[in-house]
Symmetry: D2
Subunit: 294 residues, 4 copies
């Protein structure tokens, strides 16, 4: 089939350009194919995991994450402790600030500003988070999976995909909860709380073993990617997989590992449909979301 040179006219919609990308090349094509695969996942009524690494929430993606969840484009989330904590921060009304990647970090430290590449966040936000976590964790007692703790937090918030998940009993796994500010506060204030990841694993395995098409959308790599893929070692493998990453395969790490490699582990079915988009997810994910909405 011929390369179809992408045409762009005045007022073109995101969904139109993403559709056209699928007949070009390189990562534009990969993005277009990702859109088609995700759409097929939906058509096939698949159960879809989305894994979320990287600082997507500080980067301004919380409405997108909420949107894909509210529209049923994903059925479960696996996110890092950092994304969890920064979502709580936003839900509590403490915004992230447009900063600069070229900053004097010593000066920022003096001012009580922490930097996430070109995003700033003030100490006051972390103080509010600590108060919130302290009060919450003091109320809890017993064994909790990470998704139950996320629900407990969601129950106490509004206008967040965390509260939406709680209300709709959507499991949000946070396998690095202990490796986050929330984890530090859990240790300090959750004297009666026992974080039991084996409960997460059990639910994850149940979800991975459903008798329906299984799909996964991997944003960045890290533990969320491994956590969701690895569960398939005890199940039948994903039918669909989309990976959005800026890591390269040729350095040998899991975050950059190809989805083909995942087939050798049977984490993906050998006849699964899979594509990797090498692009900053802050660009690629909103485009895919807009594509799915139309």
């Amino acid at each position: 089939m011929k390369i179809n040179h992408v045409k762009v006219e005045k007022g073109i919609r995101v969904s139109e350009i993403v559709e056209r990308f699928s007949e070009t090349a390189f990562n534009a094509r990969r993005l277009g194919i990702a859109g088609k695969i995700w759409k097929e996942m939906m058509k096939e009524d698949s159960f879809i995991f989305m894994t979320l690494a990287g600082a997507m929430i500080p980067a301004g993606m919380r409405e997108v994450v909420r949107g894909v969840m509210e529209n049923g484009f994903v059925n479960s989330l696996v996110l890092t402790g950092a994304n969890f904590v920064h979502e709580v921060c936003e839900a509590l009304g403490y915004s992230h600030i447009i900063g600069s990647a070229i900053s004097d970090d010593v000066e920022l430290a003096d001012k009580g500003i922490s930097r996430i590449y070109d995003v700033f966040i003030e100490t006051s936000a972390f103080e509010a988070i600590e108060r919130f976590f302290m009060e919450t964790f003091k109320e809890l007692s017993g064994n909790y999976s990470s998704f139950e703790i996320v629900w407990e937090i969601g129950k106490r918030l509004e206008n967040s995909f965390l509260s939406f998940a709680y209300e709709n009993k959507i499991p949000i796994f946070c396998p690095t909860l202990h490796d986050s500010i929330a984890g530090l506060h859990l240790m300090l204030y959750g004297k009666n709380v026992f974080l039991d990841y084996s409960k997460d694993l059990k639910l994850l395995l149940d979800l991975c073993s459903q008798k329906k098409k299984m799909g996964i959308v991997i944003i960045g790599g890290g533990v969320p990617k491994n956590f969701a893929l690895q569960a398939m070692l005890l199940a039948e493998g994903f039918d669909y997989a989309i990976q959005i990453t800026t890591d390269s395969p040729h350095y040998g790490g899991l975050s950059g590992a190809t989805l083909e490699e995942a087939k050798s582990w049977c984490k993906l079915k050998i006849d699964s449909k899979a594509v990797t988009v090498y692009c900053d997810a802050t660009i690629a994910l909103p485009l895919l979301y807009a594509y799915l909405l139309d």
Copy 2:
């Protein structure tokens, strides 16, 4: 200013999402800012160069390149010999083919198919190109700059940004013309043609010395980037610069060099507005073009 989490609604236009990206972070923000800078370039009636490295034409971007030129979003082009040759190929009616990056290259070689990552092109196309260049170069005699040779080619084509450039006397510099299949054919068949880059440099310097705002849009790095930036060593520097690249600064090469570094060389004015977008240009350039159209 607060991070403004990007909202996406049904039917959202590309121009709207790019606009919203400018209040997020990472490369979404960089893309949004690139759109604003390019728009300001236009508003200020700047003279705008676009440099084009990478295999953008094989990748399906020829209509986009043509569009930015026809709409006056760029006033001069600096492209690689490869992009020049592959545009000639398309204009002659020989399309690039949707291939796969996972291919048996020995088998492809046997079949007479050449691979450009996930794009294929057949030997027959190169035979047509050779016939065309042979006939053309045999007709020419004398000293030619690369932009004059590009015009001579454009004069003999239709439905191409090369013919548009010829008809409208838009200079398209091709500083690596000799390092391309066209260069090989020029050596073989252009016995009376002398490729004189000093004529390119002279025009380039004149264009860089105009008494108006100067802007540059750098797609990829390589010679096109250096060729256009370096001319400013003999002029006053660019007022605006946009760079779309997937190269990293920390390996020290020019292709990944930051636009800040260019200020130390006075290739950019110290008060110039500049932004680098770390993204595959097959995604970023069409989005920026759509943004400018609205």
Copy 3:
């Protein structure tokens, strides 16, 4: 100071060339500076953490990890579950195999071979690992931190840095133990074992609060990097930091985040000595180890 062009003579030792790299540029200089900083860490009798992400053990680095530990170049390790599991695999006598990154993964799956980029591992190895973990986890009961479980495993192995750590009570934190094959087996067979990361956090905080110079060597990013750096939010920050990574800062993720950014969080002291080497750790780490030995 002038760039001192690196001289290479017959029989040059690794330690000599790394020393000379420090007066060149780009990542050769960064590597040379990393050597000097690590040497100073030793001279100042610092307590040194090494974090280990990426598939370093499958890649043939187990003797290097063991060597830096046995020579006292590091005092504590923070590693991924994957590196832990693959070290157990090697210690049990099941070797990783030299494979190829260009493989038919469906065929590998049929043969029961799992691929880690250009490394292969056979199903039989995983069966041995499962037997070993099953027996071990059935013997354990009670609350265990990850470093205690690592010691329990080390106690049952020979010729491994895990056994060396057990014998010498060197803490090896494994904050993603639950996100590994070991984690799956712990859930399946460790009915009486509770993995309690809060015990890891407590020891980690104690270690970070020692009244001596604190240093960190970060291999790759991920949870190990964040786990060790974040503990310093409750302490005074590292005095020395070396980071070896192939991730880029400009995509905004933590794995690629600069050590300067870490200063804004006070994870590094504002006057700390820090350097990032952008290089595959399979090359950089053995070179640094050889440098320290001399």
Copy 4:
């Protein structure tokens, strides 16, 4: 074959560790294999091109480039205009300076310091280069290939691989000479000099058509890579190829293109031995040079 975990003992030589790398994985293995392939190139008495992009000379690699040439490890060089100009700069006694990648470029511009990532160079150096080129180019008249101009320059210098090349009639192609400061000076002062790349192409094709094993060592990508590989479209292809790059294949550009892809173009023979090392060449090249010396 099993992964052979790299052992490092006190006083280990570079050649020993590179040898051992070949039985590990990822880029350490690639580096080790590169050493073996280069050694075989020598054993087979191959004619070896080395292409040199990136700012290798400013980065402190001029002695290494000179060494590989003097030792006969390469028989011809294809370098960028930038590497050529900066070598002239060093040969004239104007050193590059150890700078910092984190600099205020506006302040540097004021001080007359130009930055190349973490290397500085002062205006005085460029003034000396201009005087030298002016005097030289005024003396020349007629048609010159780039390698002839390089020889003319080498004739007027000492203690440089340029003078060594002149004395030993080693062809150094500089296909981007016109796209460099030397090119600007050639236009300004070389009124009677015609830069005729067709003469370069003719010699290059003759060299590529020799009846012996042909090898290539590609440092970085860009025009030097394409210039040397493309010549093989009119010859039989390389028997051996080593590529050291930090570019990725998945963005579709030539600089990151795999050597497998080059086989589909018949630029490499289908049974050629080829390896790509993904590593900063400031680290990898000196290590390979040391390996060959032993």
